[in-house]
Symmetry: C2
Subunit: 355 residues, 2 copies
DNA sequence: GCACCTTCTGTTCACGTAAACATTCTTGGC
DNA sequence: GCCAAGAATGTTTACGTGAACAGAAGGTGC
């Protein structure tokens, strides 16, 4: 009775089961628990022989440090929260991938929350969810319409946002939306198109508006007519729907779509209506998704360096975690170069093409 | 001097800064800390007036429960680890999205790790990384070549895998790869093609092999010649490269690609060589990515219900967490229906087509 | 009026870890 | 051989929380 096995005492009283503790290892190795802790964290030197003894005991018991206890003691979780919309979109996933990679390199893991819509309420709900999770920092990809005030961010939590609209409120990293859009529109004008039409993203999207504004301004400064923009929602379906109406119009020779998916839908509709790309209509996209080069015709587009954006976001968090640096006003801009492929060409003299 | 402000004692000795604690709230509200805990967890009833007083104090201090302490006490983190490859791929991101959504519904967050390659070493490294994070369960998407033994999974950790090869080792959920592939090949045979060629995924991929095997068997049982498969790697680039060689061959009239991206690359190459789809060559993909319907021509493909797979994976974890259910042998199969679009048609009599 | 039950609140304690401080052991100079 | 100096290890303590138990307040039946 009294010769009860030591290990069996677990789960006896009011606590949930858990593995062997640092104390169990210490007992087996014949050292103090502090020495086990030193081996486990590598914080202070331990004599080689002692270390071996401790490591043996760890292996024997299958010991793994209790992370809750460690986090409690150290005051951090080595984990970053990440809020994104629509993980499926190429831009999101690439950025996420880069964030994960960069975070991991720093020894951090990433807790991902995907919000349906970029609305303020959804995002702040996600913030609530995450700040009730164990995180040391928060990255928000495409904050869009959310206002900083509405987010109710814990004031001490390091934050990084991939949206330039938050400049001055939170450190931000973003692609040069305006520069890329200007290059796209200018490219079409340089080819000789009288004007350029635009398929915009949803009106509540920051990047969509930046692209639309840049498109409008580039046309204006060139002294061209600014047609009304078509309202899309990022989806290929929207591009297809809009494309079906564009296909009936003779006056549209060049279209700048706010992303590649809509450009693909547009091209689909044009093909279907027997209009040729780029002979009848030139098309430029935005993002340079992997498939852009393999659409027919291969798509001229503006490349976003999602990978770098993701890395930069993590760096911004790390700098806040490390040096208690004040980064509120920080704003990093990543270039967005135009990639010319075969979906753009000089306009042909207007004619009804056969076939 | 002695009238020091209470709140300032934080960070005095050896502990990192942190917010107000449950005790601070209790003091301000004039109750015991246990009552604060009751309000915070809602575990036991508290008189309305008292609750209000506590909530007021919480608001006033900006109190948020310390999650490390809570996790330590309760023995769980309300967090699930998720290991994926190539978040960019449509299938991955859709599954991830569904996992996140389902987990959140259960009050869990998701820690995501992205491994470069599905190799055993990479995956087990990711497992190491994650099991040093605070997680209560682990989902592995596409375990591929990793052998269960090599993964060194903590034996008590609930696991779910989206790969049927782990049946018997870990609970698994997967699409009906074989059924979908059979339907694709049979569809082409039914249209009258003498045989069907195959662009395979990487040979170290489980699903790729399942699809290739099903293709081979369907041809054999129909008494057709089984040509050598082309070796791809899931990328559109590979499809394009292989397509360029296929375009020179007159005997290839039907191709079943192991995923939509490779199908897109293939179609690109065929277009470029002046071969028509589906008139000269019929093409079927796999996955039904969002763009599949907007390729030119719209792609016939096998749809994978990634969303359901993600949900099911979480359910498997929850069942293990809840009932201590033994699910080792569990294997859920999700149907993969064929979606017929315009990239497939009956073969035309062989001729050199103009244009 | 009193025992009894119910409902709410308070007290004590342990979770597993690592920082701070204390002690022991080694080593080398003289 | 002795002492100082440094390295290695041990002891004590607190992190913030919630479970278990204990006690107080209020209501009910007879």
């Amino acid at each position: 009775m009294s010769s009860e096995v030591k290990g069996a005492r677990r789960g006896a009283k009011g606590h949930p089961k858990s593995g062997p503790s640092i104390g169990d290892v210490a007992r087996l190795a014949g050292v103090s628990s502090q020495t086990v802790s030193r081996v486990s964290t590598g914080s202070e030197p331990v004599r080689a022989e002692t270390r071996e003894r401790v490591l043996d005991a760890m292996r024997q018991l299958g010991y793994a440090p209790n992370l809750a206890a460690r986090a409690l003691r150290q005051g951090n979780f080595r984990s970053i929260g990440l809020i994104a919309h629509q993980v499926i979109r190429t831009g999101e996933s690439k950025t996420i991938e880069a964030v994960i990679e960069a975070a991991r390199r720093e020894g951090y893991s990433v807790s991902l929350v995907d919000v349906e819509t970029p609305s303020s309420s959804d995002v702040s709900e996600a913030v609530q969810h995450l700040s009730h999770q164990a995180i040391d920092g928060l990255i928000i990809i495409r904050a869009e319409t959310a206002t900083p005030a509405a987010l109710a961010l814990p004031p001490t939590l390091p934050v990084a946002v991939s949206d330039s609209r938050f400049v001055g409120q939170h450190p931000a990293v973003g692609a040069d939306q305006a520069g890329g859009s200007r290059a796209a529109v200018q490219h079409l004008l340089d080819l000789g198109h009288p004007t350029v039409h635009h398929i915009a993203g949803p009106s509540d999207s920051g990047p969509a508006n930046l692209r639309a504004t840049a498109w409008r301004q580039t046309l204006s400064s060139a002294g061209r007519e600014v047609p009304e923009a078509f309202a899309g929602d990022w989806s290929a379906d929207a591009g297809y729907r809009i494309g079906s109406s564009i296909a009936r119009r003779d006056d549209v020779t060049a279209v700048f779509a706010a992303n590649d998916e809509m450009a693909a839908g547009l091209i689909h509709a044009l093909h279907e209506a027997g209009r040729r790309v780029p002979d009848d209509v030139s098309v430029v996209g935005f993002d340079d998704i992997d498939l852009a080069a393999h659409l027919w015709p291969p798509l001229t587009t503006v490349r976003q360096e999602f990978h770098q954006i993701g890395h930069d976001l993590v760096e911004v968090i790390m700098r806040q975690l490390g040096g208690r640096e004040q980064l509120t006003g920080y704003h990093g801009t990543v270039p967005a170069p135009l990639i010319v492929r075969q979906s753009t060409a000089a306009p042909r003299p207007r004619r009804r093409t056969r076939r």
